[in-house]
């Protein structure tokens, strides 16, 4: 009797210790997670806070997260400036066109890569993977010469063409990984029924390609919305500038307004942030499967 009581209490003590260890471990995991969240989030919070201050309060002493000058006036100033709105219009036109065109081209190429054997496949595959090692600055100088001689300098078309080639290689890799994961029986059944290849692609595969198209499209949109180097070099007049270049233009002005720069930065990251939050699960899987395959 007494023996089993001590055995029980020993087991209880061991169980309590295990629970205690788990709580301690959980505590430290939360400490680590919160430290990381402060590292990642505080700078962003400060940007948001500064966009609501008056310009004279930006470097106030001591700094406050929310101060008495809290207002939407910086946003109002950005949204009522026709130049800023033009930056946004340019960015939208370019990023949306690039996304649509890259998706169409990548889809057809990925379909060929996934479902056909052909002689150029190996070579093209090497070029597509290898093109990711080509430094943008190496393409920049010949593009500048080409765009000037083709009269595409300082135009939407010039930038759209440039961004298609920047985004296409990884878009093809992501789409191929996605189509590889779809059962071949589907398109073989369609072929038995006498469907042409393009009909098979558009009627059978595209309707079930949603997640792959979403993650590839989001990747393409993000790259083209964020690009700076080519936008800086291949445009000349302020009415052709995109948001990332426009922000630097504002910073370069004499007596620039910090609060307006922060407000346009917040507005400039909203499209990507919203798309990312909605589609993050698809996106992360798509990016990862592309990266592992390549």
């Amino acid at each position: 009797m007494s023996v089993s009581v001590t055995a029980n209490s020993r087991r209880d003590a061991a169980a309590r210790r295990a629970v205690g260890r788990r709580i301690v471990k959980k505590f430290w995991v939360y400490v680590g997670l919160t430290a990381g969240a402060l590292f990642a989030g505080l700078p962003v919070l400060w940007m948001l806070s500064s966009s609501f201050k008056s310009n004279s309060a930006i470097f106030e002493y001591p700094p406050k997260l929310i101060d008495s000058t809290f207002s939407l006036s910086a946003y109002r100033a950005v949204l009522s400036s026709s130049q800023s709105l033009r930056f946004f219009l340019n960015s939208y036109v370019i990023a949306l066109s690039v996304t649509a065109l890259t998706l169409i081209v990548a889809l057809h190429t990925a379909y060929a890569f996934s479902r056909y054997r052909f002689r150029l496949k190996g070579v093209l595959n090497v070029i597509i993977i290898g093109s990711q090692a080509v430094p943008p600055v190496a393409l920049l100088i010949p593009y500048f010469g080409l765009m000037v001689s083709l009269h595409l300098y300082n135009s939407y078309q010039g930038l759209i063409l440039t961004y298609i080639i920047l985004t296409l290689p990884y878009a093809i890799i992501m789409m191929t990984a996605y189509i590889d994961g779809l059962p071949r029986e589907l398109d073989e059944a369609a072929k038995m029924d006498g469907a042409r290849p393009l009909t098979t692609l558009w009627r059978v595969l595209v309707p079930i390609c949603g997640p792959g198209l979403v993650s590839t499209g989001l990747y393409t949109f993000m790259i083209s919305w964020n690009e700076y180097l080519f936008a800086l070099t291949l445009t000349q007049t302020n009415n052709m500038r995109t948001v990332p270049v426009g922000i630097q233009l504002l910073m370069g002005e004499n007596n620039f307004q910090w609060n307006q720069v922060m407000a346009i930065s917040i507005l400039g990251c909203i499209p990507v942030l919203v798309l990312f939050l909605i589609f993050q699960r698809h996106f992360i899987q798509g990016l990862a499967s592309g990266a592992v395959k390549s």
Partner: protein, 290 residues
Amino acid sequence: MERLTPYALITPTTLLVIGLIIVPIVIVIGYSLMDNVIVDHNPHFVGLKNYWSILSSNNFWVAVRNTSIFTGGSVVVHLVLGMGFAMLLNTKLVSPVARTLYRVIYVLPWVFTASIVAVLWRLLLDPNGVINYLLQSTGIVHNAVTWLGGTSTALISVTAINIWGGYPFFMISLLAGLQRIPTDLYEAATVDGAKPVKQFLHVTLPQLRPIIFAMCLLDLLWTTQQFTLIWATTGGGPINYTEVLSTFTYRIAFNNYEFSLASASAVIVLIASVVVAVFYVRQLQRARES
């Protein structure tokens, strides 16, 4: 007809690749062997003269050194932070809701483009900015530090900014990799009495090795090519203390209009990138075979 189908499907990509990758690379190599291209309508062939000018320029080697420090520091810390955060997010001790919330916060820096990251950190690191305020009020430093303007702090500062903006890509990919590791591997290790550190070294790391290789390669290539962040924070300065190969090349081309010299510099960078990529792909294949 059936045999021609794949060729029809890849035609747009093939044309784009030839017109916008292969032809431009041939053009830039051609430019690098001539003098005064673009500016002068009748440039002459000058052989490797531009390459000697670049390779014997002191600024080029300063840019090589800065690029190496910037890239090395960024890739190593990206990997360490990305791994640490991915493992914290992957523990079963945290509730799913908290995990999602933390993940969204952790990914935030990545949603901001380099141009925005640059203005944000110029605000934070300003001599009158909030970081100097915190350091001064806690007594860590006495006088405000000109982080981006000082010769001894500028390169460290831009590297730190790049670390902040780039670790989420590692974290996301490693997290996806961690979630794919079969749990029975850990169960078997626990049965064998392996402690967490041993489990990490003998289960987690080997399972993640292909992803770590791929991420490090991509990050190495992207970071050596980083232009925007440096151009928009320090512009390569003070003097040339943060000059990297991309800003060095850009400056020669679009500030000095010496397109031939810039092309030679760009080709050198291109060759170095291709060598790194080929070397890395070889290593990756060897790692997969063994």
